[in-house]
């Protein structure tokens, strides 16, 4: 935590998050995220190694039920909301590069 968030960090995280940020946004977020993380430094500095983490307020257990067929969403109604459809499927641009 000693080193502050850099512009390169923001570019890398934007790629992970699939956000094509423009240069102005990258500059703004570098400043703003570093400032927000300064406030988080208090939490990061707490000596609480022996405290167990809480991911959820409820003790979650798997919910099981009999494997009975029940109605699903209507396929055509769902596909009608998609940006592009072909042969009753979601259509997307190329997934693999030319070389692959």
């Amino acid at each position: 935590m000693s080193e502050r968030l850099t512009r390169d960090d923001v570019v890398y995280v934007a790629h992970l998050a699939r956000l094509d940020l423009d240069a102005a946004e990258i500059d703004l977020f570098t400043e703003q995220l570093a400032s927000i993380l300064d406030h988080a430094a208090d939490v990061a500095a707490l000596d609480i190694a022996d405290v167990p983490p809480t991911a959820h307020p409820l003790p979650l257990v798997n919910v099981l039920r009999d494997d009975e067929v029940t109605p699903s969403l209507d396929r055509d109604e769902v596909l009608a909301q998609a940006p592009a459809v072909q042969d009753h499927r979601f259509r997307v641009p190329r997934i693999l590069g030319e070389a692959q």
């Binding site: 992970l16 939490v43 990061a44 940006p83």
Partner: protein, 477 residues
Amino acid sequence: MTALDIAASVRSGERSAVEVVEEHLARIAASESDIHAFNLVMGEQARAAAAAVDARVSAGEEAGPLAGVPVALKDNLCTRGVPTTCSSKILEGWVPPYDATVVTRLIKAGAVPVGKTNLDEFAMGSSTENSAFGPTKNPRDPRRVPGGSSGGSAAAVAAGFAPLAVGSDTGGSIRQPAAFCGVVGVKPTYGAVSRYGLIAFASSLDQIGPFAHTVADAALLLEVMGGHDPADSTSIAEPAASLSASLTEGVNGLRIGIVTELSGRGIAPDVAARLGEAVAVLTAAGAEVDEVSVPAAIHGLPAYYLIAPAECSSNLARYDGVRYGLRVDGPDVEAMNGATREAGFGAEVKRRIMLGTYALSAGYYDAYYGKAQKVRTLIIRDFGAAYAEFDLLLSPTAPTTAFELGAKTADPYSMYLSDVCTIPSNLAGHPAMSVPFGTGDDGLPVGVQVLAPALGEPTMFRAAAVLEGAMNERGAA
């Protein structure tokens, strides 16, 4: 007129649901352009739903506990056949193929949905200024924000557009706007109300709850919405708690603790003064009130701003331009994803996705997200210790009254501070509610927050009713 009165008069045939809905649609038509509470007013659907209620009444059928009561729905609740946007360009025009469970239950109870209310995009914000469709104004003073993220729902009730509204609360998004707009707002125990069909922001924190003018109306709406739902795996396996029956039982003999960490530093003097008056009211009603420390509460805000963005970065990965909503085309799928998300999300949503992705990324996970989860444990422990001594806790709902539009948009952290009193309950999964309690020096509403341990709603509502009763007496005097 309260929701209870409307439902009684519609059930008895004294008034028709159509007449009630027309009256509210006329009020919306008259002043919605000044307030912008709604992303969509469902005039036609509302008239049809009201006519259906009237048909049930004239056929002698049970018309339901909310017969003919207009209700406003936050626009992150899925409504079949009615656009649901989350106030985001990425979902503009999307029409859900199913209803949220709460919507199904409301309609079954005879309620009449009148519109989808504005919110901070994907419920991320404290002022409703982060909406892609423009801000909502506070009906008490249109130069002020209504709070957020459920600002449209709070404003709809405050403006008389509907006696009831539904919101969602991840870090204070029902209670803080309720306080700013001078209405009652409740965040129930996590799992008490089904989240099926609530578009997810931070799944371990999100909870649906009611807005109303009165504590009794809020209790009624929560009773209708709550209870187990097999469609939500985190729904508590119990029926909705009965709240209305014990509402008037008072607070005699209850032990109520004022949370030191949420009631002193950073709280505006006029808000602190109203809290002091609330303490006097509860004491006069027979409660034992004392200060109590919840030490880890001071870490709630920074922990929340690691946990909520982390969960949001994961939940919002689904907006990738493939199955619904906006697509901006690109040469390959990765370019399409990036361009779609860049064009579709607003600044605050991007900020939180970035923050969450960073907090979860290799090398930082333990230091940020992991630590924040441990703080969550400390908050639950410290609340547990406080509730060993006290039945309920008390604090202001927000540190100040409603601020001016634009006052905090340039500095995200100053905006986040607006939720400092409400966040700890979300991290713990506990219920809490805001009750209007007088006004600040600026004449704007102040809210007092009543906090309770998990499933402590019946007791929490009793204290809220006592505070409300004192306000009504003061108004009548």
